[in-house]
């Protein structure tokens, strides 16, 4: 089940081949949903679910897809899954779905999805495709959670909606950094993660 090759498929996207900080895909939603930790977490889980299942479905029907409409077929599968996820969130976690609003729908346009379907699912068996989907989804979710963690902590002084910076800090003159809540700081936080990762991993450095 988890041969060496499959392990690579699952774990490589977490750091060495991370879709966000190495391939720089899916940046738009990283900017949009990471102002708070909770929506970032739900968004990450949603992307993992959509990516894993669409990879499996496309992989299952890969031999029947007519080549000249394959992108359309991929889009239809992804769009259907995204709508189902959106409906489920609306029914069971209404508050979170209000916070995420349009961004769940925008998973359809997430470049990571089309990239994985086109590059992996179309030419691999369902099980590796599933692992690839989970791996890339996790790689995306990890970055989302890290960025969300720092933005909420520094921007609002809270985590998952609970205050973590004690009132005594505010009394001494500490202030939340309002800039952290605005989209540009998501880019800068992502850039910092890329910087840290590249300085640790020599393979990623360009000569």
């Amino acid at each position: 089940m988890l041969s060496k090759k499959n392990k690579g498929i699952l774990f490589n996207p977490l750091s060495k081949n991370n879709p966000v900080v190495v391939q720089v895909l899916g940046i738009c939603s990283v900017l949009a949903v990471t102002a708070k930790l909770e929506p970032a977490l739900v968004m990450g889980i949603s992307v993992i679910a959509v990516l894993a299942f669409s990879n499996v479905i496309i992989s299952l029907i890969r031999n029947t897809i007519p080549n000249n409409i394959r992108i359309i077929v991929q889009l239809v599968v992804v769009a259907a899954l995204v709508i189902i996820v959106d409906q489920i969130l609306k029914a069971y976690t209404y508050e979170v779905s209000k916070a995420l609003s349009v961004f769940i729908g925008l998973i359809i346009t997430n470049c990571i999805l089309m990239g994985r379907l086109e590059a992996f699912a179309l030419s691999n068996k369902p099980w590796p495709a599933f692992l690839d989907g989970v791996g890339n989804g996790l790689g995306y979710a990890i970055i989302l959670v890290i960025v969300g963690f720092f933005r909420e902590l520094l921007g609002s002084g809270s985590l998952m909606g609970c205050k973590v910076i004690p009132q005594s800090f505010y009394d001494m003159g500490y202030m939340d950094n309002g800039l952290m809540i605005l989209p540009p700081m998501a880019l800068i936080t992502v850039a910092c993660i890329i910087w840290v990762q590249r300085s640790r991993d020599k393979d990623l450095q360009e000569k």
Binding site: A35, K36, P66, N67, I69, A80, A91, Y94
Partner: protein
């Protein structure tokens, strides 16, 4: 069968679309009752927030039924008319000419027996609609509590109108000045209304949203003015 032929392609896409269509329709139908329930409960919670009644998730409905003793619709003259207050959509009412609007009123009886009138308001922020509920004391003048929400104001700036600290400022403010309807102003820190009316502090960095709140209160509550006048006469008896 030749997989690159046009017949195959067309057939394939037709089957795909039908299968996906059926799947989505089934999902939608299966989850619809639960979603409608969520939306209705969300509205109930918003109404209750204006009178500071917080309820745990799940029993919003019972709390609503307990506190909201009456709800009715009033017209521009402040007279009750037929209609279901809960199902009125303020977004479409506000588009009608001022005289024809159907105005919902939710009457709340608190634990201590005091009556509060909860009035919905609806307006525009910077990026999209903003709305809320204002609870008015039985004297028809003093604001007891306010609740605001928004669709997509900037987090940390305009979106601060949905925080407790902003909403708490409205408590105790007077809607009337010298017997005339005046509403509550939202002013930048350090500024005051020239006529000495009641005001609250705006959100720094959220100027347009703050102005939107001020306009929303003035525009929506002025419709209720005949109704509020009637309450004032009643309560002074």
């Amino acid at each position: 069968m030749n997989k690159q032929s046009n017949t195959y392609t067309i057939l394939y896409s037709v089957i795909l679309v039908v299968v996906v269509g059926v799947l989505l329709a089934v999902t939608y139908m299966a989850l619809k009752p639960k979603q409608d329930e969520n939306i209705a409960n969300d509205k109930r919670q918003q109404i209750l927030s204006a009178v500071h009644v917080a309820s745990a998730e799940g029993d919003v409905k019972s709390a609503y039924n307990k506190y909201i003793v009456e709800s009715y619709v009033v017209n521009a003259d402040g007279d009750k008319t037929a209609g279901d207050a809960f199902s009125i959509n303020m977004a479409s009412e506000i588009k009608k000419p001022a005289g024809e609007r159907q105005l919902p009123v939710f009457v709340c009886r608190l634990d201590n027996g005091e009556l509060k009138y909860i009035l919905p308001v609806y307006g525009a922020g910077l990026w999209g609609p903003i709305w809320g509920y204002v609870a008015v004391d039985a004297d028809g003048d003093t604001v007891y509590g306010a609740y605001f929400s928004h669709q997509g104001e900037t987090p940390g700036l305009g979106a601060e109108i949905s925080t407790k600290s902003f909403q708490a400022q409205f408590e105790g403010k007077k809607l009337y000045k010298d017997g005339k309807f005046r509403s509550v102003d939202v002013m930048k820190s350090g500024q005051k209304p020239v006529d000495g009316a009641d005001y609250v502090n705006a959100i720094s960095g959220g100027t347009i949203t703050s102005k939107g709140v001020q306009a929303m209160l003035a525009d929506c509550l002025v419709d209720y003015s005949p109704f509020l006048k009637k309450i004032q006469v009643e309560s002074s008896k």
